[in-house]
Symmetry: C4
Subunit: 125 residues, 4 copies
Amino acid sequence: MPAIGRKQWAIAEGYIPPYGQGPSPQMISHEALCILNAGDAPAHVEITVYYENRAPIGPYRFTVEARRSRHLRFNDFEMPERIKLDTPFSSVITSDVPIVVQHTRLDSRQSANALLSTIAFPGAD
Amino acid sequence: MPAIGRKQWAIAEGYIPPYGQGPSPQMISHEALCILNAGDAPAHVEITVYYENRAPIGPYRFTVEARRSRHLRFNDFEMPERIKLDTPFSSVITSDVPIVVQHTRLDSRQSANALLSTIAFPGAD
Amino acid sequence: MPAIGRKQWAIAEGYIPPYGQGPSPQMISHEALCILNAGDAPAHVEITVYYENRAPIGPYRFTVEARRSRHLRFNDFEMPERIKLDTPFSSVITSDVPIVVQHTRLDSRQSANALLSTIAFPGAD
Amino acid sequence: MPAIGRKQWAIAEGYIPPYGQGPSPQMISHEALCILNAGDAPAHVEITVYYENRAPIGPYRFTVEARRSRHLRFNDFEMPERIKLDTPFSSVITSDVPIVVQHTRLDSRQSANALLSTIAFPGAD
């Protein structure tokens, strides 16, 4: 299986709904980043978060092992700081090996959850 | 961080639901355009809106500062004219520096909100 | 404004929910194809619909005038034949000038509508 | 009609909601893979599923006949093993001829269904 993906990705949307309903953790309102590393070497991933009215924050660092998937929630990011709820943001994701990135939100603020998802924008190879 | 994005984007979908429910401004039905400018210079963005039965309107002009995100709602566009609700449209987004554009709708017409999102179509570098 | 788009597009998903609720026509369950022709010449668009267990049907023919948007519902396609509800399909869209295509579904089968949308897959220039 | 698509695709998101409500099979929570083979030869498709904490599983093998659509549910995959519900995954799809792949989820865990969809990430030609 040849490597698939890119080393740089961007997600222009970003928003963690500030409340929700339903059983935790599945139905907690969340903003997620799904990463596939289909290659043979671990992916060292760095995520920078961009805001509307302040300097970008990051990098948030994660490893995705070779031939593994990893679904990360922006809700759970801790270092260098937590991401504020109810605040618009964007993100850039870089990796030392090719990965594939998809963006998903589950919004459970109202009586039934809503979902959105899109492939992220692929940048440099 | 190298620049990421394109200078031209298109969104073929466009529709602002004419009503909604839930707390304002978060749960107002809206059509949004999320823009990331991850570069080192401000992005001067121009948006032209295309309709089914009349000439295009625009440009709507916005600046996205260097290393900033900006989430715009078509609902809030004012100059050269407001966008009518309940009316299909498309849009083309141009910028003098590379940006990334994502399209999102929140539709709160019924008892629970619905969401859609997609990366916009990337045009010229 | 330079032309933006491609002359060939594909949408692998296709499904018209067989029922719905809410006011017509907005809340009727529908499968839509949003087309932007940002160029200076009319787009002559041909859509071929692919099924799971029978030969493809088409082309369905539409014109999108220069500098216009057009939102089409698969529900409304008539010639050469109507598209059956509750039946999986895919589609290929071709045009004689560059266009941009986005796919959207509104599903109002349950008590609150659901939405999905994605940019179509861009083929040949 | 020239061939459209790629021979390699990836979907970074993957999750089958563990329960749902509404009539079967339409409203069962499901994770789907829509494939278009618009070409003149059958597509022999292999899908490998990547997990967070174990080695990838596959290939799952399917044929999509020439000029046909096929909508597959990950829920229904059987060989080499069923996919566990409520478990994050990613997938890579390969074919011996060009195909187009789109990813869709219907989540009916709460009182009204939610939908997401995106074009998959196109890899090698």
